[in-house]
């Protein structure tokens, strides 16, 4: 099998610098890369769409960003529904033909991630190409990955088996792929965007209680942790549900969450 193109995005390393978003525009605005892609409009398209998620309440919060290009799915709805206009190459890259797709706005709606954009002027659907014109010209990575300063976006050209091992080893996940579209974009630390946390601080005699053993029980158990020098604990990657915080072996608080929660300070 031909070597496949994969992108891996580590959510915990992205801090929304937007280099990828701008590098994508730099590559595709004012430049025609036919037959791969026509020019991207100067404004409006987000071939690399960075989504923001804040979790928790002041002051115990965190912030995650999910850079979201076309997922280059193995079983892409756009390829399935519009086989004359959209092709999946042997290396896994999904490309929309800028000539054949002219006027076909339905292609935009076929993407469950909203990753296909309509170009009003040219009347064509457009999206991330993995910079296939550059890959075919010898570049090892697309512009977004090349511009990323934290290493959050990595690009691999691998046999499928090799990537599957990488996937298992690094615990990579697909983004909301309940129907088995099987993307070529995978995420690391996706819980930072998709799941919730319960955080708080323990006090003993009015001072921050460092070194207290804390655990969580209820709808799911979490491994025991020890409070830091501010008496803080944080249980992450939780599903919505009801949880009891246990400190020093005693139940100290029970909460029901549907999103991340800062339970505040708890005197023990």
């Amino acid at each position: 099998m031909t070597q496949q193109r994969y992108m891996v995005i580590d959510v915990s390393l992205c801090h929304d610098c937007n280099n990828c978003f701008i590098a994508c525009k730099d590559e595709h605005v004012m430049n025609k890369w036919l037959p791969y892609a026509d020019e991207q409009p100067r404004h409006g398209h987000r071939w690399m769409n960075i989504q923001r998620k804040e979790r928790g309440q002041y002051p115990r919060i965190d912030c995650a960003f999910l850079p979201m290009p076309c997922q280059h799915c193995e079983n892409a709805p756009c390829v399935k529904d519009f086989p004359d206009c959209v092709v999946k190459r042997d290396d896994g890259v999904v490309l929309i033909d800028p000539v054949k797709s002219k006027g076909n706005k339905a292609i935009v709606d076929s993407c469950p991630h909203g990753a296909i954009y309509w170009n009003d002027e040219e009347e064509i659907p457009q999206k991330c190409t993995f910079c296939a014109h550059l890959l075919d010209d010898g570049w090892s990575v697309p512009r977004c990955a090349h511009s990323c300063p934290t290493g959050a976006i990595r690009f691999y050209t691998l046999e499928k088996d090799a990537f599957d091992s990488l996937k298992a080893e690094q615990k990579l996940e697909a983004y909301r792929d309940e129907t088995g579209r099987s993307p070529h974009v995978y995420y690391k630390n996706l819980y930072r965007y998709e799941k919730s946390f319960i955080a708080g601080g323990l006090l003993k005699g009015g001072d921050c209680a460092e070194g207290v053993k804390v655990s969580l029980k209820g709808d799911a158990a979490a491994p025991e942790q020890t409070t830091n020098f501010f008496g803080d604990f944080k249980f992450d990657a939780l599903e919505p549900g009801t949880y009891t915080i246990v400190a020093d072996g005693k139940d100290v608080k029970t909460v029901t969450i549907d999103a991340s929660l800062n339970v505040g300070s708890i005197e023990i």
Partner: protein, 875 residues
């Protein structure tokens, strides 16, 4: 697409490769530089059993990544323009500036296209007329900061050379990003060579080897990139995190560095940082958690300071409970922070660069910086792993290799108004074949004005202030008093605005619109690249090109001057030939060429150019540096860049170690005290040679003026902020806005201009086809006002109104908002200077008041406002 050729260039956001379509005179792409295999090897640092070496690649920022869209923009000025209604020989219609007359050029409303000859003739004949009719000092140049990048083209270089030979004076820049350090911390330890900022030499290795905790205080290196160094230090902070170094963030906003690294975040009420510091110190003093021996030997005024902290003078001990009342941070957290800080080998990252930026630019900036010095001193500043280090500088490159920064004056050699006199002027100008251009006007015995008071120059006619420009020659230089008009000089008749807008970057900036709407200013000339900001107030507009359309030379992140060793931010010392990538667009010209053409008409072309074009000056500068030791001019021209080899044998003398160990200063020369600064060549630059928590220079100042300065007392202390939570007008304007340096743009570079950046979700928000500037507001404050994500809001106070898009967030606590400074757009909905701006110049709402009574520093980093939903013109 035509033939594509790879060139090199650079900007404040990093050096880049530029692929150019030479047939179509168009930039195809701009991207970071992968080092070649034959470039010199990178440094290696060993720490805690691991080896660390940087990626063989440069980094860049979003605005540099999108530079193509600024070069090829419909907002570019492509030919000279004259304001309709402006007749230099008749009616000038000064009061109509900023209100476009009908019937003008469709691309530039209110203006008509004129030829270069006509434009240059008007400007030069006005210059000659003004000199003959009024005398010297009646023409003032007003450049922006960080206009373009390059040692030849920078304002200290080409502009100064023209200005000084043409007899034009200057609107001096204040130490705009040092402020609190300059007016405050200088009186604690000197360091006038860094305007009060601490030295940072070799602190990266010291931290990796020795530190166990870093407190980032008003410090967001992932946003401000130190300065100019893009994401060079990002990998280094990640290594620190991997080594288990704890990271605590103190910032009203949960900033972008905190997003990546924070183990704990504190958001003090805006302006109360010094109170938090005092409460931390109270814990140290009462629990014995400070370096007593160090303090006894190296700190002056400790007893008085201790008495203040313990409340022995004012009856108010600065306990954690007192701190909680001032700052809003729980007393138990303050105690935990104080104890953990003292227990660890802790680096204090105060400001984003080792000083600089953030809280130092606010109304409480002087108290904050002096308290930061106190914190560092009490823990033994300079001992292994304990220092004042912002993690952005101190990369272990070759400190001995000489290549200048832009602040070293380039082709001007102006030793009064740049750092040319440190080294470059002697290397650059032989005297016989080539000569520098000293100023006869922009010197303390001439006439000049402070940039922060340009509006008053015209609107009030006279001003008085203390401190000329960057005033870094001595501690006392900032006390000197000046006035405009200076004795024997006329009033200013021409404003020559050069570079980017000021209306988005100064304080109380409706003033910067109003300054044009007066007959006291007979002519305003703009030399600009884009039709933006206050450019549409100019009478004559001369279209300049970007540094992608001319030759220049520069080093990554190297400005030198008052940021000594700024190049130590980069992982490799990388020097770029800034190639002329494309021909200037339209009829635009390089700044050098515009000045050359004016010089012809003023009879000074010979001294100005010495027969050289820009590439000729680039070559002269190349020869004045150490570059010929590692490459040849021909190789440099061909390759476009050079990497300075690692220097394994240079001494690793860590910042402040000499002071902690009581030795003579041994860190690299730039930024060091000059022989005359010290007594017997030992200790700090202060009178005592120690860190002065009770400042003798401020005591002397009070004595000399015969009054107390309640805005800057000699004893380091907290003063309740006059623009923050305890401000008396709080009822009317209950929200405090934090307004730091912007994240994506560099001041106004990158913003507006129909550039890509306007599409960044966290930069501007598009509503009904207009891109609005963002204000971040807490969930609770927004709910109380019926404001939802993306709503348009009006932020206002007595100084004006700005229309903004709301972002609802928990990244600020209730009562605090956040909105970056530096909008490039100014779009008043009615009369310029007196109506709501929907361009996003939040600085309209900031104060013009100086940071201290006897200073001329800006205090714009925070201010009070009210915010309400904007229904569009119904207010």
């Amino acid at each position: 697409m035509g033939k594509i050729v790879r060139k090199t260039n650079s900007s404040t956001g990093g050096p880049v490769f530029v692929d150019v379509d030479v047939d179509e005179n168009k930039i195809v792409r701009v991207y970071p530089m992968d080092l070649a295999d034959d470039d010199p090897a990178s440094w290696v640092v060993e720490a805690r059993g691991r080896q660390f070496s940087p990626p063989r690649k440069t980094t860049y920022t979003a605005y540099t990544a999108g530079y193509k869209a600024m070069v090829h923009s419909k907002r570019r000025l492509l030919y000279p323009l004259k304001r309709i209604g402006f007749d230099p020989n008749g009616e000038r219609n000064e009061l109509k500036r900023g209100e476009p007359a009908a019937g003008g050029d469709p691309n530039y409303p209110g203006y008509e296209r004129i030829s270069w000859d006509e434009a240059l003739d008007i400007v030069s004949s006005e210059m000659i007329r003004i000199k003959r009719e009024f005398g010297p000092g009646a023409i003032v140049a007003e450049p922006s900061s960080h206009h373009l990048w390059g040692n030849v083209g920078y304002r200290h270089s080409t502009l100064f050379r023209f200005m000084n030979f043409a007899g034009i004076t200057y609107a001096d820049h204040n130490p705009d990003s040092w402020e609190g350090w300059h007016w405050g911390a200088i009186h604690s330890w000197g360091f006038t060579g860094g305007l009060g900022n601490p030295e940072q030499w070799d602190l990266f290795e010291d931290t990796m080897k020795n530190s166990t905790m870093i407190v980032f205080w008003s410090s967001d290196p992932e946003t401000n990139a130190g300065i100019y160094s893009a994401y060079e230090s990002t990998v280094r902070r990640r290594w620190m995190k991997e080594l288990g170094i704890k990271m605590v963030f103190i910032d009203p906003y949960f900033n972008h560095s905190a997003v990546l690294y924070s183990d704990k975040w504190f958001s003090p009420r805006i302006g109360t940082d010094a109170a938090l510091a005092a409460a931390i110190i109270h814990v140290w003093l009462t629990e014995g958690l400070y370096d007593k021996e160090y303090v006894a030997e190296r700190v002056f005024g400790f007893d008085e300071f201790k008495a203040y902290i313990l409340g022995e003078e004012d009856g108010e001990p600065k306990t954690p409970e007192w701190g909680e009342n001032e700052t809003g941070i729980p007393a138990h957290d303050i105690r935990a922070l104080a104890r953990e800080w003292a227990k660890n080998k802790t680096q204090l990252a105060a400001g984003g660069l080792g000083g600089w930026g953030g809280a130092c630019r606010g109304p409480s900036g002087m108290e904050w910086t002096r308290m930061m010095v106190a914190l560092a001193a009490l823990q033994g500043l300079g001992k292994p792993g304990i220092n004042m280090y912002s993690t952005t500088q101190g990369s272990p490159t070759d400190y001995d290799f000489y290549f200048p920064g832009y602040a070293e004056g380039g082709i001007s050699g102006d030793c009064d108004n740049s750092a040319a006199g440190l080294e470059l002027v002697y290397r650059m100008f032989g005297g016989e074949g080539s000569r520098p251009s000293p100023s006869n006007l922009n010197v303390s015995a001439g006439q000049f004005i402070p940039r922060l008071r340009i509006p008053e120059t015209f609107l009030e006619g006279s001003i008085e202030w203390r401190g000329k420009g960057f005033v870094g020659a001595s501690i006392e230089q900032q006390f000197m008093k000046y006035k405009y008009p200076a004795d024997g000089f006329p009033k200013i008749q021409m404003l020559y605005k050069y570079g980017g807008p000021h209306i988005g970057t100064m304080g109380d900036t409706n003033r910067y619109a109003l300054q044009y709407r007066t007959k006291e200013l007979p002519i305003a000339v703009f030399q600009a690249i884009w039709f933006e900001g206050e450019t549409p107030f100019g009478d004559i507009i001369l279209p300049a090109c970007t540094n992608f359309e001319r030759w220049d030379i520069s080093e990554f992140a190297n400005c030198a001057g008052y940021i000594p060793g700024s190049f130590t931010q980069s992982n490799h010392r990388l020097i770029t030939l800034q190639q002329k990538c494309i021909e200037p667009l339209g009829e635009s010209k390089s700044d050098y060429e515009i000045f050359r053409l004016l010089s012809q008409r003023l009879g000074i072309e010979g001294p100005f150019t010495e027969g050289k074009d820009e590439l000729g000056w680039v070559k002269q500068l190349f020869d004045a540096t150490d570059l010929p030791k590692i490459t040849t001019w021909d190789r440099f021209l061909e390759k476009g860049y050079a990497v300075v080899p690692d220097n394994k044998i240079r001494p690793r003398n860590v910042a402040f170690r000499w002071f902690a160990e009581g030795r003579a200063i041994d860190t690299p020369k730039p930024g060091r005290f000059r022989p005359g600064d010290q007594v017997r060549q030992s200790g700090m630059q202060t009178q005592s040679g120690k860190i002065e928590l009770l400042s003798q220079s401020l005591q002397r100042f009070e004595k000399s003026i015969g009054e107390k300065d309640e805005t800057r007392p000699p004893l380091t202390q907290y003063i309740r902020p006059w623009q923050g939570y305890h401000y008396e007008d709080k009822g009317k304007y209950p929200l405090a806005v934090l307004s730091p340096h912007p994240r994506f743009s560099f001041h106004t570079m990158g913003d507006g201009k129909d550039a890509f950046m306007n599409d960044i979700k966290d930069h501007r928000v598009r509503v009904d086809g207009h891109d609005y500037w963002i204000i971040r507001i807490n969930t609770q404050d927004a709910a109380e006002r019926g404001i939802k994500e993306g709503d348009l809001v009006r932020a206002f106070n007595d100084r004006g109104d700005v229309i903004l898009a709301a972002q609802i967030t928990e990244r600020v606590p209730p009562g605090t908002c956040h909105s970056y400074e530096s909008s490039a757009e100014y779009q008043p909905l009615g009369t310029p200077g007196a109506s709501p701006d929907r361009g996003g110049c939040i600085n309209i709402l900031s104060t013009k008041k100086f940071i201290g009574k006897h200073t001329s520093g800006m205090a714009t980093e925070h201010f009070l406002v009210q915010v309400e939903k904007w229904e569009g013109g119904k207010h």
